[in-house]
Amino acid sequence: MSDQPASEPPEGLIELVEALLLASDEPLSVETLGVMIGQETSPALIEATLDRIAARWESHRFVELTSRRLDGRPVWQLVAGAAVAPYLKAADPGRAPRLSRAALETLALIAWRQPITRGEIEAARGVAVNPQILKLLTERGWVRSLGVKDSPGRPEMLGTTRQFLSDFGIDSLDELPDFERFAGQDDIDV
C-alpha cells in the first residue's frame, strides 16, 4: 500500500470497483482497475477503495474479497466461501455419484487379490488401468499402497484400508464371499 494516506474514496468509486470486480471473470489488479477507471485515479485511492470493499463484505457469511498474487502482483476477486458449495451442488441433478464398472472391477480385484500390482489388475481386466480410477479409490480412502513388490520394475502393491471395511460394512476381509471354489464350475459354462 502507498505511504501517503489516501483520501477517503467516494461512494460512487466504491460501487464502481465493486461492480467491476463482480462483472469481470478474472481477478483484477490495481493496475487493471486503474486502466478501467481512468488515469486520474491514483493507485493509492484504488487500494483504499479495495480496503473499503473488503470491509463491506467481511460481515457477509458467504462472500468475501480475497487477494492473491498472480504474475508477481496482487490481484483481487470476490469469491464464494466453501459453505456455498453444498447448496450449489444440490441443484445439480444427475450427479448422483456411482462407481463405474471399471472402478468397481478394479476395487474388487484389489479387495480379493491384495496385494496386487497395477500390472496384475491390467492383466486380469484386459484393459489399461486408468490412473484416475486409482486416484479416485485412493482419495476415497479405500485403497492404499502396500509397498513395492520385489520384482523387475519394483511395482507398487495395492490393498484395501480399514476405511474400506467400515464403509462397505464388513468386519474383515474374510467376510468377503469366497468365489474361488465356485469359479471352477463357472468355467465349464464359459
Binding site: L78, A80, L99, A108, L109, V127, L136, V190
Partner: protein, 290 residues
Amino acid sequence: MSSESRDNAELRWVDATPRVSGEPMEQLPLDLYIPADALAIWLEQFEGPLDLLLYLIRKHNLDILEIPVARVTEQYLEYLALMKSMAIELAAEYLLMAAWLAEIKSRMLLPPEPREDDEEEPLDPRAELVERLLEYERTTRAAANLDERPRRERDWFDLSVEPPERLPAPPVPADLAGLIAAMQGLLREGSVRRAHHVRAEPLSIRQRMTEILDALIERPRCELADIFRAEEGRMGVAVTTVAILELTRTRAIDWSQESPFGPVTLFRVVGEHEDAEDTMEEGDERPTGE
C-alpha cells in the same frame, strides 16, 4: 396501375417530399446532389443495392407497391454514376440491380401485351422487385427489433463471484453388492483365472450394432453396463465397444458420461444436433491387446 404516366410520378415525387422524416423542407435535397465528401461516408452505410433502392423509395415516401420505376431507376443510376466518379468500388450486385431496373423500365414502356384470356391480370414487371424489397425491409426491421433488445455485454453484464474452490465431489457411496457382482463378472469372464481360451466366437460386430439399436428403439437411452454381457468375456467387450464406436461414428447413437468414471449412458440420436454438445470424449478405458 401498370402504366403510370411520368407526370403522375413527378407529382407524387413532389408531393412526397415535405413529409419525409419531419425534416425542414429546405434541407431536403430536391435533386440528388449531396456534397461529395458526405456521400462517401453516407454510401458506406448501405448494405447493398436493395438497401439503397429501399432508401430512395422510403426517403421520398413512395408507395413501394407502386414504384415509379422510371424515376427510381434514374435516381439509382445517378447514384451509381456518383459512386463511380468518386472511385468507390462498385460491387457487382449494384450493377446487376441497375440492369434489372433498366429491364423493368423498358418492359413498362411497352404496351401491355394483349391477353388471350381476360381472366388473368398481366404480370406486373415490378412484382418480383417489390417482393424482394418488402422482404428486405422486413429483414431490416427484424434486425432493428433484435438490436433494441437489452443485450448481454452491451446493456447488462453477468455478475459472478468465483465459486468455491473446486466443489468437493460428493463421496461415492460404498456398494458391496456392486463390488461382489463385479468380481463375479470378472471370474465368469474367465479372464481372472485363465489366460486365454481363444475360440472362434460367434460374435459379429454388425449383429451387435443391430442389437444395440434394437435396445434403443424400445427406450430412448440405456446404460452401457446393460449392453455388455459378462458371459461373452473380453471378446464380447471388444465387439460391443467397436459396435458402439461404429454407431457413434455414423451418428446413429450418442453417449454421455455425467462425471468422470460415472456410468456411461447411450441414447439414440433424434435427428437434432442438440445433444451433440453433451457428447464427451473417449471413454475411460480402451481395450488393450485383443
